[in-house]
Structure formats: C-alpha cells, structure tokens
C-alpha cells in the first residue's frame, strides 16, 4: 500500500519533471535578448551572429529542437557549453560536488543551530532567556538571505578580519582553505534554515515536556538532562522533520544567492553565469537539475509526512 503510494508520487514527480523540461526550454526561448549577440558581445558583427545562429540551429522550429534536445538528455548526452565549447558533463560535476559539500556543511551547522536555542528556550520557558532568543530568531527570520550574507561578510571580514571575503576554491585548495571558504556561506544558509526550525521546535518541546510520559520519567527520578535529550527531544523533533525537508528545498534555491554573494564556484553560480551569458545548453541543463532537486526534496518532504503521520496514509489511499 505504501509502495503504491510512493510509486504514484514518483510517477507524478517524473511527469512534473517532463513539464518542467518543456517550460525551461520555452523560457529560454522567450528570454529577452538575442542568443548570438549575447554570446558574441555587444560589438560583434551581424555576419558572425548569423553564423552562430546557424551553428546552433536557431533557425529551425523550436519544437523540433526541443525533442532533439530532450532525446539527447535522456540518453545522457548533455551537450556542449556554448561559451567554452567544453562538454557540459565535465563542467557540471566539479560544480555539483562543490555545492553538495557546501550544502552538507550548511546542514551540519543547521542541526545544532536549531536544536540548542530551542532546548534552552524550552527549559527556561517564559524567562528572559526565552524571550531574548525569541526576539533574536524572529529578527533573523525577517532578514532576507542575501542581506544576512552581506551582514556576516561585513562582521567577519571587515570588522573582525578572520575569514576570506570570497569563497573561491580550486582543485588545489587544502582542508583549511576549504573550511575558511565554507564557513560564511554555510553559516548564512544554516541560519536561514534554523530560525524557523528552532521556533517550531521550541513550541513542540514545551508541549512534549508537559506530556504524560515525560512527567512519568521525571517521577521515576531520571536526571533532567536525560529526560530532555532521551525522552522529550526525539518526540518533539518528529513534527519538525517536515520543516527540515522543506528547508532542503530552500537550500536548492538559497545556495544560488549565497554562492553568488560569496563567489563560491558551485552549481548556483554556474547557473547564474549561464543565464547571464545566454549559454543556452548550459542554462537548460542547470535549470533542469535545479528543478529535479526541488521536486525530489518536495517528494521527500511529502513521503516523510506520510510515513510519520499514519492518518495521511489512510486518507490518501
């Protein structure tokens, strides 16, 4: 039964992806600006532009080009980037790896950043610490990510010159270099994700701390720390897993902004560059992959919800 449900979800996800691929293709078609003049520059000659248009088959009908492209992509042939004439697969992999490392770092910071304030708040409910943390998380929640990135940059680069202003990493960057490069972008992403989770977790924890089984544990004389971490927290976390899954969908987009601000050579900055320079094949692939991640993360969020809340299982089936 669950399998059927998961299968159905996977099928709709695949269908969505197909639609997205068509939309991406169309969107690139209607992007303002002429591909040839964007690639060749403002001062290029008309003959050069015409030659490039012919080379890219831009004169053929869009629908034909779409199916040709889709067929190639499905067969794993991602094509050649317009700007560098390099195979797109070669360009993508290092970028994707970098972004995965950044995302992993962000998640690693995100977990304690969400847990600790929530626990402190729940333990000190309605005391001044609780209110203070609430104000701080609310404040952070209302700062847009790019502004938060710039604020962190000003604090940790200009006032406390500890970290690099740009997070450029190359194949020769060592571990220390990587750590320094990752801190600011990962921290930005982690804060944006953590503020919501922390606020939700605090409320859940407070409820759980008053539940019967926690009361029971206390009556049995278990130390308060054990009550909190073993008996209360796991129960409070379950409802926030959904938020975490949704946070991952934020990560897919947030990474684009943060990478751009910090100049991190990841997937997000590649996508922006591709769009800026009208590298059509690269735009199509990167946007398609980003949509893939988004759809998958949403799928996971849904599945997590279905698996965690049995009621949903029955009603949907």
């Amino acid at each position: 039964m669950i399998l059927r449900l998961v299968g159905l979800r996977l099928f709709t996800a695949a269908l969505t992806l197909l639609c997205v691929s068509a939309i991406v293709f169309m969107a690139v078609e209607i992007l303002p600006g002429d591909v040839a003049s964007n690639v060749l520059g403002q001062f290029s000659s008309e003959t050069a532009r015409a030659a490039l248009r012919e080379q890219l088959h831009l004169d053929e009908p869009a629908i034909e080009r779409y199916f040709l492209w889709l067929g190639n992509v499905l067969r794993g042939n991602l094509g050649i980037a317009l700007s560098s004439r390099r195979p797109i697969a070669d360009i993508l992999w290092p970028r994707i790896t970098n972004t995965l490392i950044l995302s992993a770092a962000a998640v690693a910071i995100y977990i304690p950043l969400a847990l600790f304030p929530a626990v402190v708040q729940a333990v000190n409910r309605n005391r001044s610490v609780d209110h203070l943390i609430s104000v701080i998380t609310l404040l952070l929640a209302s700062i847009p990510d790019f502004l938060l990135a710039l604020l962190l940059l000003i604090i940790f680069v200009v006032f406390l010159p500890l970290l690099p202003a740009v997070s450029i990493v190359t194949p020769s960057t060592d571990l220390v270099g990587w750590l320094k490069a990752l801190i600011l972008p990962a921290l930005t992403l982690a804060i944006v994700m953590a503020v919501y989770a922390a606020r939700m977790l605090r409320d859940n924890l407070i409820d759980v701390l008053e539940a019967q089984h926690v009361l029971m544990a206390r009556l049995r004389g278990l130390p308060e720390r054990r009550v909190m971490w073993i008996h209360a927290l796991p129960n409070a976390i379950v409802p926030t897993l959904n938020v975490t899954a949704l946070n991952f969908t934020y990560l897919a987009g947030g990474v684009v902004i943060v990478e751009k601000v910090f100049g991190f050579p990841g997937f997000g900055s590649l996508m922006i560059d591709a769009i800026r320079f009208r590298d059509v094949p690269l735009v199509e692939i990167t946007v398609l992959i980003a949509s893939c991640v988004y759809i998958l993360a949403n799928l996971l969020a849904d599945l997590a919800a279905i698996l965690l809340i049995p009621k949903l299982r029955q009603e949907r089936a």
Partner: protein
Amino acid sequence: MRKWLNPAIMILLAAAVFGTVPARAQSDNCLKVVGTDWASEQQSVDPLINNNVADLMRLTTIYEKLVELDNGYQPIPVLAESWESDAAGSVWTFHLRKGVKWHDGRDFTAKDVVWTLKRVLDPKLESGAAATLSMLDPDKLEAVDNHTVRITTKSPTVELPILLSSKYTAMVPDGMNRETMQKKPVGTGPYMVDEFVTGPKFVAKRNPNYWKSGLPKAPCIELSGITESVARVAALQSGQADLLIFLEPSATATLKNDPRVKVMNSPGGSVMTLSMWVDTPPFDKQQVRQAMKLVVDRKKMVEAALLGIGAPGNDNPVPPNSPDAYRTDIIPRDVEKAKQLLKEAGHPDGLSVDLYTSESISTMVPIAQLYQQMAADAGIKVNIIMSPADSYWNEIWLKRPFITSTWGGRPTAEALSIAYLTKAQFPETHWYRKDYDALIVKANGTVDPAERRKIFQQAQKLLAEEGGVIVPAFASVSAAMRKDCSGYEPNNNVNNNDFSGFHCE
C-alpha cells in the same frame, strides 16, 4: 567536568580554523588583482575574443600591443618603438622594439605582427576590430626586415597607430591559432602561464625575459573577479586583495577615507550619454533637443550622480579638458531659455518623454534620475523605464528613441565617429548628417595636427548644438590598492591596464 568539554572543544576547533589566518592571507607572494566580474565558463585567452572585464584583465597580463594610449588618447610606444607615414597617411612604417622575446623564448619579429593583423582581419575569426581596421588590406602587410613592418592602407588613415591600440590587436606569435592558444597562450607580456585552465582564478607567473628591465617585481599575479560590491570592497579592506580595478562610485566613496587603502581616479574617462533619436518626435525638433540639453546642471551631475568622481561634459564625446575640445568652459544651465525653446517648438505646456535605462552600468541610473529632476523644472516630464540589465544592450539600446548609454573613453576621431557617422555601426542618435560626415572625413585625411584639431572642433560644435546626444558627464575610471602597493594607475582608456609595474611591499 563534562559540562566544560563541549565548549572547550568548540573553542579549540574555532581557534584551529581562525588561528591559521594572518591579517593578510599570505600563502604565496602572488599579487591579487580583483575585477568586477568573472565569467565561469566564457574565459578567453585569444585577444580576438575580449568580451568582459575578466578577459580584459587576463589578456593584458599575457599579451601586449604595438602601441598603447595615454590619458590624452595619444599613442605611446610599446612593442613598436616608433612609426612614420608618407604625406598622405596611407603607407605606414612601424619600427619594432628589439630584444623582445615571446614566453617560449623566440624573438618577437615583424612576421608576428603580420600574422596578428591577418588574424584580426580574418572574417572567420570574428574579431571585434575587423570593422575599425577595415582600411587594412591583408595582402599589404609586409615584413620588410625582422624589425620593420610596412602597412599600406586602402584609404589614407592618419590615426593608424591609435587604431592599433585596440584591445583586439594584442600581438600573438606567428602561426599561433585559437586551439593552441587555448591550451598554452604565448605572449610578450609581463606574466605567463605553462598551461591555461578555466577556473575561478587566473594565476600567472613572472615572465623572466620581460623587456622592461627589472619588471615585473612580483613572482606571480592572481586575477579574479567579485561581482558583489560589498564583498569586493571587504576583500581589499581585509588585505585579501591588493588591487581592485573598475570601482563603481559608491565603492570609491566607501574606500576614500580608509587609511589602509589608496584610491585612484583617472582624469577623464567614460562618456555618459542620454541619447535621443533626432528623426523621431518630439526630438526631431531642434528646439526640443536644445531645451533638453539646457536643463542639465553638469557640475551637479558629477557631484550627485557620480559622487564627484568624474568631470562635466559638453554634449559631445570629447572631454572639455582635452586639447581637442571645442570649448573648455562648461555649458551653463538655463531653464528659462529651455522653456522658451519648448514654447517655440509647440510645447507651451511642457512635454512628456520615456527614458530607458538599466542597472547594466551602475552609474546610468543615478544620471537618469537626476536628469528627471532637472528636466522637471522646465516642464519636461521624464518617465524612467528600468529595463533588465542583461538584455539592455540587445533589446533597448539602438532600439528606443531615448536611452542612457556609456562609451569607454576614446581618441577624438574614433569618439566622434563610432556612434555619429551616417554609416556608423551604432547610430545611437540617428544623427545622419552629410555635413558632419564630411568634416570627419576631411579631418581623417588631414595630416597637419593643428589643422585636424580645428576640423574636429567644428564637428563637436555641430554635434553639441544640433545633435541628439546629451553628455552630462565623464565618469572617471577608478581603482584602489592597499597602502603599501604601487605601480598601477587607472587609465581613461579602460582597455589600457598595465600590471607590469604593479607591486606591493
């Protein structure tokens, strides 16, 4: 005890990460030059493809031209030591510098110059200079001896040395094609690479055989670009960058008072324009165009829109402080006369116009906004239409009757031609005037410099008084370096970026 453990570990970890970072991240002795942009894939090491700031920076460290332009747009010798022409200006002889070596150890000779110019003219290679150098005949480029090149032009070209300072005409070795370059570019410039790889930085090492003795002083140079202005400024302030080039006015204002940093501005710079189509209502009436010019307070434009980093302009692309300028005083603002002219043109109640602009060049927007306020005083309602930056030059520029634009500073002849001749490739103002064209043709064929200057001044006057271009200001080209660095100056001509003398203590 255990309570202390976690914070202690965290502090240790933090110390391990932060402690290894000195004030200046000095893992090597590379000079760190940061530009405004870095295309991640579109990276060229062929001078014929020079499309963005990153390309420009990279190419100027590797390659050099025959001549470079100074701040007054006069040619200065680089790989050519001297040059002369016949009386008509159609047979040119360039004497090349001796003792210049390519990065691979070969001598730089006349054959290399001929090969380079043939590449520039090759239509298949899509060079940006093929049009401006169309008077060159690929079959009339002649290596007279190892260090002499004779060029016979199709038509008299008095300013050929200036045209050869184009960013596309940097010298490449005989026989070098695009494929070999992309793997290992070879030039005569101050820095060189063993292998070219696309990446988020470009690192090149000192050219030990560089012809300027004792230069470059640094063992290597690292080029990169930071799009985000706050991050770029922070990199310099924290000592992670040694030199920032092409600063925008807001960054210059931030850095001006920082004791750790030196800010430098070129004396003139980019031409900021508001361009009207002279054949499209309401701009087809000369009184309207004159009124739209008279409302501009040029000094205020420099102070407010460019934050003082620039110089006022007189509605033509030649800066008032140039020896070629037709007038050296600044056109005064006259709102009453503007109103009077509008009345004469049949707009007694003022008029309403759409002005297109974009963030594509950051200084265009404040100029448009300030113009809106200035024009309002004369009853001209300017509706600013912001257009997306990435398609502005394809969709709006040359396609709308009233736009903002920017031109890099250029030598007088080129500045007056590129957008204002009838056959111009970029007719920004639809200024198709036979008498103007005739003046430019006459000037280009006049060998006597004083005589030529006079004709250029007539052309400027015509353009300023009757044309469709408003030039409220010239924006300086700015750069900033750490206090203990020296040897680099921003040039009015953005394409002139000589990093050979740049070094830090």
